[in-house]
Subunit: 395 residues, 2 copies
Amino acid sequence: MISDEMTRLVSGSSAIRAMFEEGIRLASIYGAENVYDYSLGNPSVEPPKEVKEAIIKLLDTEDPNFLHGYTPNSGYPDVRKAVAEHTNKKFGTNFTLDNVVMTNGAAAALNIIFKSILNPGDEVITFAPFFTEYRNYVSTYGCNLVVVPANIETFEVNFEEFEKLVTPKTKAVLMNTPNNPSGAVYSEETIKKIAAVMESKQEEFGTDIYLISDEPYRELVYEDIEVPYVSKYYKNTFVAYSFSKSLSLPGERIGYLIANTEMKDFEQMMPALNVANRVAGFVNANSLFQRVIPYCMDCKVDIEVYNRNRIDLYNKLTELGFKCVKPVGAFYMFPQTPIEDDVAFCNAAKEYNLLLVPGSGFGCKGHMRLSYCVSHDTIVNSFPAFEKLAAKFIK
Amino acid sequence: MISDEMTRLVSGSSAIRAMFEEGIRLASIYGAENVYDYSLGNPSVEPPKEVKEAIIKLLDTEDPNFLHGYTPNSGYPDVRKAVAEHTNKKFGTNFTLDNVVMTNGAAAALNIIFKSILNPGDEVITFAPFFTEYRNYVSTYGCNLVVVPANIETFEVNFEEFEKLVTPKTKAVLMNTPNNPSGAVYSEETIKKIAAVMESKQEEFGTDIYLISDEPYRELVYEDIEVPYVSKYYKNTFVAYSFSKSLSLPGERIGYLIANTEMKDFEQMMPALNVANRVAGFVNANSLFQRVIPYCMDCKVDIEVYNRNRIDLYNKLTELGFKCVKPVGAFYMFPQTPIEDDVAFCNAAKEYNLLLVPGSGFGCKGHMRLSYCVSHDTIVNSFPAFEKLAAKFIK
C-alpha cells in the first residue's frame, strides 16, 4: 500500500542518514568519544550570540499574534526587503522584496523552484559530485536528473561533457558552489563559461534554460577565496540560500530564494513560487526565524574552527597517502578511496569506528565524503584509525 | 516557462488569499477599523504564556547546536514520545514514539502521507464543504479528489452519496472535523458509520483504504461538544494534527501525524513517511518549536473569546434572516448566501467593506465562509454593514 515512488526511495534510502544512524549504534557500544563520525553535515560551531538575542528581543517586543502568525506565503515583506538590501550591499545587485521568497531552507527553495518550472519529462542537468537529494527532488516532478561526470582532478566543471548533455529538453542547470561533497569553489571563469554554454544553447535550441545556484555554503570559504555571485553572470538565474550553515541553524529550516528580474517570465514566476510554497505544504517559512534573520544577516559562525579541522585532516590524510583535491569551501572533503569499490572501503572503515560516506551516492565512485564539522578532538583522535586503514589499503 | 500545473494553480489561485490581500488594500483606503475582514483563519487570541516561557527556558538551558540542529527526519525521539504519551493519556490509546512523525504543521503531514501512499490515478474522497487546498495536495501526486456533495441541512456526512463514490480506485478518505469551513463536528455515530462503510467497501473490493483525519481544530469546540478520537474507530487511520490553532502558532508550522500500528503496511509506512518528510523538502519540523511542544501540550488558547464572537455573530446573522447551520467547532461559520451566486454576493459585500469568502471554493456553492477569529469590535462594528446587505438581498 506504499506508493511506488516511496518504496523505491526507502529501499535506496540515504547512505548519509544510514551512516548517521550507524554512528548512534556504534557510540552506544564503544562510547561517543571512540566513534569518529564524519557522516553528517550537522554544524559543530555554535550559532552567533545574536540569534538568541534576536529571539528574546522579538518575544519581548512584538505582538505574539504577529510574531507567530501566518505570513504572506512569500514571507514578511520587511524581511524580504532586508534580504534584498543586504544582497545589494554585498554584491552590488539591484534586488527588491519582489525578487525574494522566504523559504524553509534551501531544500524548500529548490522544491518550489522545480514545482514552478518543471513539466514531466523535462531535464535538469547537474555536475558530479552532487548532493544526493537532487535526484529525488527532480523525480518528484516526473523529471530526470542528467549528470555531467566529475572532473576528478579539480572538481571544476567538465565542459566537454556539459556541452554534449544540454538538449532542447534541458529546463534547468543546477549548480552548487561551494560544493557538497567536494569542497570545491567554482572560479569566476568557470561561472562565466557555464553561462556562455547556456546562452549559446538557448540560442541554438530557441529555448530558455534556468540556472539554479544552490548556495547553503556560500559563507564557508577559506584561504581568502572569493565566491562570485552567480546572478550577475546569467539572466535566467535563481539563487537558493540557507542560513543552516552560516548561522548553524540547520534544524530551523530557514532560507530564501532570489529570482533575477531579467529572467524569462519573471512576472508570472513570482506568483507561481508564492503559490508553490503554499501548495507544496510549506505555507510560509516559519515566522519567528523569518523575523530573526534581519538581525543576523551580517553575522556568521566562527569558521576558523572548521578551517583548523580542514587543514589538520587534509594534511594527515595526504601524509598517509590518500589522494585528495584540497577543499577550499564548505566543510567537506572528498578524497579518493584507495580501492575502487568505495562502498566496500567505507564498510571497512567502520571496523575502525570511522564513519565515512561512499562517493557513489554523490555520483562519483571511488571517493568518500568526510564532513569535518566535528570537534577538533574527533579529528585528532581519529588519526590512529586512519593510520590503520592506510596501512591496510595503501601500498 | 512556468510549469503547466503552476500556471493552472496561479490562475485559479486561492480565493481566501485574494480576499486577504483585498482586505489590506481596503484598509489602506478606509482605515483598518472600517474594514470587516472575515477572510483568513489567522488566530486572534494570544498564544498561551507557556510558549514564550518554554522558548526562553530552552534558549537558556539547551546546547544551541542541539536545539537548532538537524533532528531525525521524523523528529526528536523524546518529543515524539511526549506526543504519544499525551495522546494516550487523553484518549486511552496505545501509541509509542514509533507511531509519531513531527511535521511542519498539518499541511506537511497531509503532503507526506499522500506522498507515501498515492500512485498516479488513485482516488482520494473527501466531504464537501472541504478546505480548498485538499484538491491541490492530491493533484501533486497525479490523483483526483472525489467530492461527496454536502448535506447542507446539517453538514454531517451524506452517506448515500459517499457509499456510491467509494470504488476500487479509492486509496484514502480525507475527513476534517471540527470542519473548515462549516464549523460542524462529526458525532461518534457519524464516525462509526464512515468506518463501517469503509470496512464494507474494503471487503467488497479486496482493497485497503486509509482514513486520514485532518484535525487542526480539535481543541476548538463549544457547548461541551466531544470530539471523538478517530483512530479508535478504524484500523487504517492517520491523524494529521497542528498546533496552529490550539496554541495560536500558525506561522511556526508545527504539528505531527500519528499512524495506527494496526494499519496495513505499518512497518513500511513509518520509514516511508520519514523519507517523504526529507525528500519533499521539509527535512524535519523546525527544531526549536519541536522542543517547545512538550511544555505546552496541556495548554490551549482562551477559546471563550472565539465563543463570544460565534454567539454574537450567529445571533445577528440569523436575526437578519441569513440561513446558517449553527457552528459548534473551529472558528468559522458557513451561512447560505441570500442569492444563489455566492461569488456575486461576496463581491457585493465588499462594497460595504465586508470580506467574505465564496463557498464555491470549498465545494459548496450558495454559501459563504466567515472566519470569526477577529476582534469582538470587528464583529460588533460590522453589524451595520450586514444590516445594509440584508436590506438589499433578503426580502
